[in-house]
Each structure stands twice: as structure tokens, then as C-alpha cells.
């Protein structure tokens, strides 16, 4: 069923008749009638026996006559649009009736102008003309309907594509969101399991760990949903995270920060530093019984901010290559900065990994925590 074509149609009119389509249909009818009238000019013999002016005058008259009949047919076809029916067969029967009646009315008018009464041969001529109009108007109507439906399909394709683009955008957003929220469930679980255990063996450390963890969440929470935060907050986040772990690892974990004060206010992707820090612990220091050191430093290089996390842990080979966290972080950097940001992993001397995030220098937007 046709739908959503009700532009300009009154409440009484069925959905599929509208002013634009009436206008276009009228133009088409005019064009068909005009071409039809040129038949007169193709009558070769006329030019042999009549002056050009007479032929042109005759052509004009013929055109007006055809226009009258064509107009009658067009009016009746347009009129069928006001008859409500959902059946296809009935719609086509109505159309046929409209063409026959329109042609009959028009040709009858033309004929009665010349001769007031009709004989048998006049009726036969009438019949042949109606047959001709049936073919002409039928073809023109088919052309019109196919064109209109194709135009409607074009509009629907356009709408559908717009919706798809919007869905794709939402998907990119949702993917970013889920990348962001993917980071914490394991960390959360491990920490709580630790807190639980500690409270049973060493309540003091357990309490400290819980407090550090709540502090970490307090720092992390307001920024979970933003695309950018400041380096200072990211460093705070990493610091509270390492505080939590220091309770667990004790002397096995040594931490050093070297963040120049003037870089603290620069924009930085959220949870990027945390991911690197988590990785340094998980794959670097945790496997080693003697633990090691984590060194977080930032510096500026031209128009780029470089933030490095260096650990003296097990190293690239032992960890078996970068894990899911690194892949997620790379995807996030690509989503946020395109090709402008990068993440490099290299071996640290004498051992361990140095991970460096490079992002373009940008002041954090105002209004951000």
C-alpha cells in the first residue's frame, strides 16, 4: 500500500492523490497530447496541397481538440483517486472505466459539434478513437505510476540510509563506551577478593586497601563517560590505583612519578594511563617474585605530549606480546584522535617494558572535571 504521500492532500482525499502528483500528471498529459497532435505534421500529402499557414492553423485546432479529450481523460483518472478502494483489481477496473468514459465524453463533444446526430459509422469511428486513447492513456499512466513509485522508493532509500548512518554513529559511540567500561570488572573483582581476604588476616591493611580503592573509584567515576580528561587527573587515578596495589604487594612495588607541573592541565584520553599501569603490574611486576619499579613520566615534544610508563618487569617476551588491554587502548586512541595519537611498546634496559602514549597537545576543555 502507498503511504506517507499525503503532502498537500486534504483530509477527504485518499493518501495516494496529492497536489504534486496531480501537477506532474497534468504536465505529462499535456506533453503526450502535444506529441500526439504532431501526427498532423507528419501527413506528407498535406504539404503538397495546402499552404503552410493553413497547415499550422489546422495543427493548432487539432492540438486543442486533442487537448480537450486528453483533459477529460486526465480529469477522470485524477477523479478515481478520490474513490477509496484497497483492491488492485477494482483500482485497475476504475482506471479503465475512467479512460473509456473520458475519451467517450471528449470525442463525443468533438463529433456533436460537427454533426448533431450519430449514425452507425460515426459510432464505429468513436469506438476506434476510444481504443486508441485506451492504449495511449494506459501507457502514459503506467509510465507515471512507475516513475512515482520509483521516486517514493528513492526517498525511502534516502531515509533508510540516514537511519543506518545514525545507527553506525551510535554503534561507534556504544563501542567506545563499552571499551571504556571494559577495563574495570576484573580489577574490581580482584581487589575486592583481596580486601575480603585481608580483612580476615590483617584488618588494618584491609581497611587501607578499601579506603584507597574507594578513593580510586571516586577519582575514576566522574570521568568514565567523558572522551577527554586532564593529565593531572589521569595521574591521580594511576596513583590511587597503585596505592591500592601497594597495600597488596608491599615492598615488591616501587613507584616513581615525574610529571612536570606545566603539563598537568593538558587534555588526555581517559583511563589510558590506568590501562598501561595495570598492564605494567599484571604482565610486568606481578610474575616476578622480587617485584620491581614503575616509573611514570611525561614530557613535551614539539606539539606532542608523550606519557611513558616504564616497568622493570618480566618484559615483552615473557608476556607473550600485547594483550587485549593494549588492543583496546589502541582502538580507543584511534577512535578519539584518528592518526594523530599513537601507542608504542619497546623493551626497557636492562629489562621490562617502556610503553609510551603520544597525543597532540591540547588544553582540556573548560567545564571538564
Amino acid at each position: 500500500m502507498d503511504d506517507s504521500l499525503g503532502r498537500g492532500a486534504s483530509a477527504m482525499a485518499p493518501q495516494w492523490i496529492s497536489w504534486p502528483s496531480l501537477w506532474r500528471g497534468g504536465l505529462l498529459a499535456l506533453a503526450v497530447v502535444f506529441v500526439l497532435s504532431t501526427q498532423l505534421l507528419f501527413q506528407f500529402s498535406l504539404f503538397e496541397s495546402w499552404p503552410l499557414a493553413d497547415i499550422l492553423a489546422g495543427w493548432l485546432e487539432y492540438f486543442v481538440e486533442q487537448l480537450l479529450v486528453g483533459g477529460c481523460i486526465f480529469a477522470l483518472i485524477a477523479g478515481t483517486g478520490f474513490v477509496p478502494t484497497r483492491s488492485r483489481v477494482r483500482r485497475h477496473a476504475l482506471l479503465l472505466l475512467a479512460i473509456v468514459l473520458g475519451a467517450l465524453a471528449g470525442e463525443l463533444l468533438l463529433m456533436l459539434r460537427l454533426q448533431p446526430s450519430l449514425d452507425a459509422s460515426a459510432v464505429a469511428i468513436l469506438g476506434s478513437r476510444i481504443a486508441r486513447w485506451l492504449v495511449v492513456a494506459g501507457l502514459a499512466y503506467l509510465y507515471f505510476v512507475f516513475r512515482r513509485q520509483a521516486a517514493e522508493a528513492v526517498a525511502k532509500v534516502h531515509e533508510s540510509e540516514l537511519q543506518r548512518v545514525e545507527l553506525d554513529r551510535q554503534m561507534t559511540e556504544a563501542r567506545l563506551q563499552s571499551l571504556r567500561s571494559q577495563i574495570e570488572p576484573h580489577f574490581l573483582f580482584n581487589t575486592l577478593a583481596n580486601v575480603q581476604q585481608l580483612y580476615r588476616t590483617d584488618p588494618g591493611r584491609g581497611r587501607r586497601m578499601l579506603a584507597s580503592f574507594v578513593a580510586y573509584l571516586r577519582t575514576a567515576l566522574p570521568r568514565m563517560r567523558h572522551d577527554e580528561t586532564t593529565l593531572a587527573h589521569e595521574v591521580d587515578l594511576a596513583r590511587t590505583y597503585l596505592d591500592v596495589l601497594q597495600v597488596r604487594m608491599g615492598e615488591r612495588l616501587k613507584v616513581r612519578f615525574d610529571i612536570p607541573r606545566e603539563l598537568a592541565g593538558l587534555a588526555f584520553p581517559p583511563l589510558a594511563l590506568s590501562t598501561l599501569t595495570e598492564n605494567a603490574i599484571k604482565h610486568g611486576l606481578n610474575p616476578l617474585p622480587e617485584g620491581g619499579e614503575i616509573d611514570i613520566q611525561a614530557h613535551r615534544e614539539g606539539r606532542q605530549l608523550k606519557v611513558g610508563v616504564t616497568d622493570t618487569g618480566a618484559g615483552l617476551r615473557a608476556s607473550g606480546g600485547p594483550g587485549a588491554g593494549i588492543a583496546n587502548l589502541r582502538a580507543r586512541l584511534a577512535a578519539l584522535y584518528g592518526g594523530e595519537a599513537s601507542l608504542t611498546l619497546e623493551a626497557n634496559a636492562p629489562r621490562g617494558i617502556r610503553a609510551t602514549i603520544t597525543v597532540p597537545i591540547r588544553a582540556a576543555r573548560s567545564g571538564q572535571a
Binding site: I125, Y199, L217
Partner: protein, 240 residues
Amino acid sequence: MTAVATAKAGRFWVARAAYGLGLGVIVAVLEFVHYAPLVGERGGIGLPELALLLPDWCGEFVLLSLVVGYAEARELPREPSALKLALAVVLGAFAGALVWYAVLDAVLRDLLGLGLFIDRVGQPVTWAGRIFYHAWMMIFFGGLAVAVQASLRGHARMLAELRAAELRRAGAQQRLAELSLGSLQARVDPEYVFRTLSRLERLYEDDPSGADRLLDELVSFLRRALADIQASGAVPAQPT
């Protein structure tokens, strides 16, 4: 050319010829009912004349249809422009009328001695007059038919495109739904965790055994949630 391509091309040309043939029959019948009352007084025309009219128009329309088919085949798989189609119709109409008149003149008049329809009707028409009349009929009816056919093809193409676009949209919608389902499972609501932990911190001061129970519940909830997440594949498993 492969056998499949040959068969496809064969079907294309046969369809074009059949289309021209059908149109020729329609125009021949129109012509017949047009002349029938006019020549009524001269003894009338009947089935033999209709039989003469059929090859007359059918041959011409088949030729026209083949010329238009050539214009279409040249542009495949794209559609020829309206201008090219119109040009093909006009050229095909005049060429068809000329060629077919020569053929009918040689076969029906000279070889078989049957004469043309127009000879039977008894209207003296010069060959140029006939060519122009037939060319006009072919341009008008052939042009209309070509326009209908082109609009039908455009219609079918747009419907196919619409189906494809709807499929793409539905696919995007489904992927989005799957993704949000996955991320819904992956998300352990941080606000909830934060509130619970703050409560836990206070509770450890006042009621350590109650706090212990709460922590137990929380840890087992997280264990179940993590198992769900890993089962759904929303979060890659990480070494702990």
C-alpha cells in the same frame, strides 16, 4: 563469450523482438479499427486485410525494438540516458519504416502479388507519405512503450536498492542491539559499586561481621557477573 553470457544475450534480443512484435500487433489492430468504418462504404475490409496489416506493423516495430535494444545493450549494465533513448527511437523509427517498406514492396507486392494493406484500402499514398506516417506512429507508440519500459526498469532497480538499504539498516540495528546487550552485561554499574563500597567502609567501623557478609555477597555477585561476561564474549578474558 561464455555459454551463459551467450544464452543471456540471446534472451535479451528475443525479449526485445517479442516486445516489438506485441506492440506491432496492438498498433495493427488500432489501425484496423481506424480504417474499418472509413472504408465501410467501399465494400469494407475483413480478416485478409488484418492479416496483411499484421506483418506490416510487426516487422517495423521489431526493427525499432532491436535498434533501441542496441542502444540499451551498449550501456549495460547502466541505463542509457533519456536523450540517447529518444535518439534511438527516432532513428529506429525512420530506418525501420524505410527498410521494412523496401522488404514489403519486394515480397508482398512483387514476389507474392498480394499488395500492401494500403493498396487494398484504396487510398493513394506516396512512399514518402507512408514512411513519414509510419515513422510517426512508431515514434509515438514506440516512444511511449520505451518510456514505460525504462520507468519499469528504474522502478525495479529502486525497489531492489530499497530492499538492500533496508537490509543494511536492519543489519546495523541488529549489530547495535547485540553490542548494547554485550556492553550492558559488561558494565558493572560503577555508581552501585561505589555506593556499596562506601557503605562497606562505614560498616567495617560499626559492624564488622555485617560488613563481612556484605563483602561476601558483593564478591560472589561479581564472580557471577564476570562468568556471564566471559561466557558472552563481551570482554576478552584477561590473566588475573
